[in-house]
Amino acid sequence: MANDKNRVVLTPSRIFIYGVVVKNPILVQVIGLCPAVAACADIYVASLLSAVILFLLILCELAASALLKNVSAWVRMALYFVMGLIVSSLATMFAEMYVPQIANTAGVYLPLMAASSAAALRCENFAVKKSIRLSFYDAAANGIGTSLVLLFTGFVRGLLGVGTIGEFVVFEKAPISGLSMPFGGFIMLGFSAALLKWFISTFLSDYSHDMSFGIKRAKKKRPPARKTPAPIKKSKPVKKNDVASQPVEVNEPVTEQEEPVTEEPVTETVDQTLITDEFDLFNFSVDDEIDAIMSGLSSFDSILDEISKEKEDSENE
């Protein structure tokens, strides 16, 4: 239960804070960059892409959670793509019919939402291991997190790079026209990530140990890679106050226990490895990079850590 030392209470609010801020898909997990970098130089296009990615995430995660848990991973990946294909095609047709100007501005980036890594990775990461209810929360949170970044970059790049906010001309001549180009997207993401980092460390300091930019993050020694899950150990219940002080045992694969929905808080106990990037990272073999990418839980900063680790290994050798 919730007071087991290797478990945490996963509430909707926690999922939302993680999905929207602490583990923002674009700025922290570095997934789904393509539309943010290249297409979002206009607030209308950003709005359209945001709606598509939000709907796509919800559809894919619900389907993955409800129907695809027992399907092979590569088949699931193909199915996510097919679902994305249907959504993005319909969105493209809709946009061409009703908002052709926006469809024209979005170009091939609207159809490309079918191949968005955000949907596939969140499904593999979370939805196939969790209940439908939690998957919905996760999809909504990550969709909102992605959408906020797209809208913010679209607004700023439109304003400074093009000189307009939608149809309204603010500047006759764009102050920084380069911002509307793809490198402007990367620059915007860089400063947005720094801004998010400041925001988390200032206003969400309780979560700063979970954020993946590297600050306040303890350097832990990784255990040797395990190819198979370790045998299940039953943890003795401990007092609630002692939870934080107990070492976390990461030895149990997904064991989800559904609880009836209550008014407050809505809780579900899950293995902590499925929530935090750090613990998931530490279970990776250094050479297991593809699995790391598939899992999507490792943030980009964790990859930097791996470089350091590889360097240390080579120096030791």
Binding site: W74, A78, L85, S89, P111, L189
Partner: protein
């Protein structure tokens, strides 16, 4: 001979002038995340090149059919996506029969096949009105441009990791985004466009 020149011209254009990762952001998530894994550069890039070339080739053949060519972008998305899925499934099944690969292989091939870079190639070919030869050149060029992107980003990551002058707020992801932006500016400069008019 002229076909070969056209093919090489298009491939080189895609590699150096119009690098899809830096100039269009296609597959940038995969490129940044994969760039820390030098051991996987070559196999992953070969897979991407294989899928992008084959998909571009088949989709261009389909576009030769008038009924397909006259369709809008929405229907083209469906058709090109279906082609990519069929190629992906066919390749996986073929590998399953011939190679009996491990689970990691399936993960790799899934990521390599179903990403924005591979899917963008046939759409770009159609938008640019490329011929069959040019489409194949684009497919191969985009795969090779991906590996160049991996090498360039990887080099930067190692330097960023050792750089103590980076402000704490920009350590990690922000610095990487800005570094990729610098690379993107360089490739945009190669294209001859005015960056800050």
């Amino acid at each position: 001979m002229s076909s070969l020149v056209t093919f090489l011209e298009t491939a080189l254009y895609m590699i150096f002038v119009q690098n899809l990762v830096f100039s269009g952001g296609y597959g940038s998530s995969e490129a940044i995340r994969m760039s820390a894994k030098p051991k996987r550069f070559v196999p992953f890039s070969i897979m991407i090149t294989y899928f992008s070339t084959l998909t571009a080739f088949v989709c261009r053949l389909l576009d030769n059919i008038d009924a397909v060519d006259s369709l809008g972008l929405g229907f083209h998305t469906l058709i090109f996506g279906a082609v990519l899925v069929v190629i992906f499934i066919f390749t996986v099944l073929l590998c399953k029969i011939l190679l009996s690969p491990n689970q990691k292989f399936y993960s790799t091939i899934s990521i390599a096949a179903l990403n924005t870079l591979v899917f963008a190639v046939p759409l770009i070919n159609r938008q640019a009105g490329f011929s069959l030869i040019q489409s194949v050149g684009t497919g191969i060029g985009s795969g090779l441009s991906f590996i160049i992107a991996l090498f360039l980003i990887n080099t930067g990551l190692r330097r960023l990791e050792n750089n103590t002058n980076i402000p704490p707020l920009f350590k990690g992801t922000p610095a990487v985004f800005l570094y990729v932006a610098m690379l993107s500016i360089a490739f945009a400069g190669l294209s001859g466009r005015s960056l800050f008019a």
